[in-house]
Symmetry: C2
Subunit: 145 residues, 2 copies
DNA sequence: AAAATAAAAGACAAACATATCTTTTATTTT
DNA sequence: AAAATAAAAGATATGTTTGTCTTTTATTTT
């Protein structure tokens, strides 16, 4: 089990891919995205529909349509993508799954986990979708296989 | 979705509970454990059967039987428990789910994730089951609700 | 030896995550 | 207006995780 759900992994990868491919105002279709990030096309379509409804990605129907990001969407932190798909439990939940775990009523791992969670939180909140485009442009990082 | 699977959460909580309750050579039954950590009894039974087979916990059948830990088992790092249940993907897997992600072929989040994963790895490898007994004894930490 | 106890094992069920396929709606191009 | 395009929506399927119930095996007590 990863840190994110499979759905969320596809979501992040697709958002990176869309940002990378639509930098100059164009759009990219679902088939191309699915191929570009190596994901099941129809499953990804569902995910992008959801992200579109929530305003994380933009979309246009018809010829020359597809998915894209405007400047506002590009500058959203990764945490917005994660939260849209997996909710905020990753930022707040107890490591041992206890519902009432808190500072005053902690589980044995509470404090140790807080440090790790905060580091993840900071990473996701302090980087934007756009931040990862350059290394993709340069071919230094990749989104499939 | 938590960092660990539900199964693994129950496993860790039960191992802490057993360590806490069997410090002086006695044993504790499945009903008492399930109640003590607020988990489904029969589901936990399966988990403990598995942990028993793998030598993480010890068990004895019959009257006055139950689950317990000896000194060796008490001193095992938490990483052994996690690995027995969830495997080692949590220590090695790519944050974006890419099979071939590596140092030389990284995903966009590779380096950032490595830091977080290593912190988790260190936490789990450097603490033992026994390390958490004292705060449980003192009632400072808890394993249910 | 018989009865009682408690884990081990097996079969099954429900819920959720993941994946596939088809139809509909909106938009653009001709 | 008709045809083509592409996302949106709906229905269905598969797989995995989580959870429940029953039977069996091993051990101890009487």
């Amino acid at each position: 089990m990863g840190v994110f759900s499979k759905t969320c992994e596809y979501a992040i990868r697709s958002v990176f891919f869309i940002a990378h491919r639509t930098a100059s105002g164009n759009k990219v279709g679902i088939k191309e995205i699915a191929n570009g990030i190596d994901s099941p096309e129809h499953f990804l379509a569902k995910i992008l529909q959801d992200l579109s409804r929530k305003g994380i990605v933009l979309s246009a129907k018809g010829p020359n349509g597809g998915f894209y990001l405007d400047d506002v969407a590009r500058k959203r932190p990764l945490s917005d993508v994660v939260e849209a798909v997996d909710g905020n439990s990753i930022f707040t939940g107890c490591g041992l799954g206890l519902a009432n775990c808190s500072e005053t009523n902690p589980c044995p791992l509470h404090h140790e986990f807080k440090a790790i969670r905060n580091q993840l939180k900071d990473l996701l909140e302090q980087t934007t979708i756009a931040d990862f485009s350059e290394s993709l442009n340069l071919g230094i990082t990749k989104l499939r296989k």
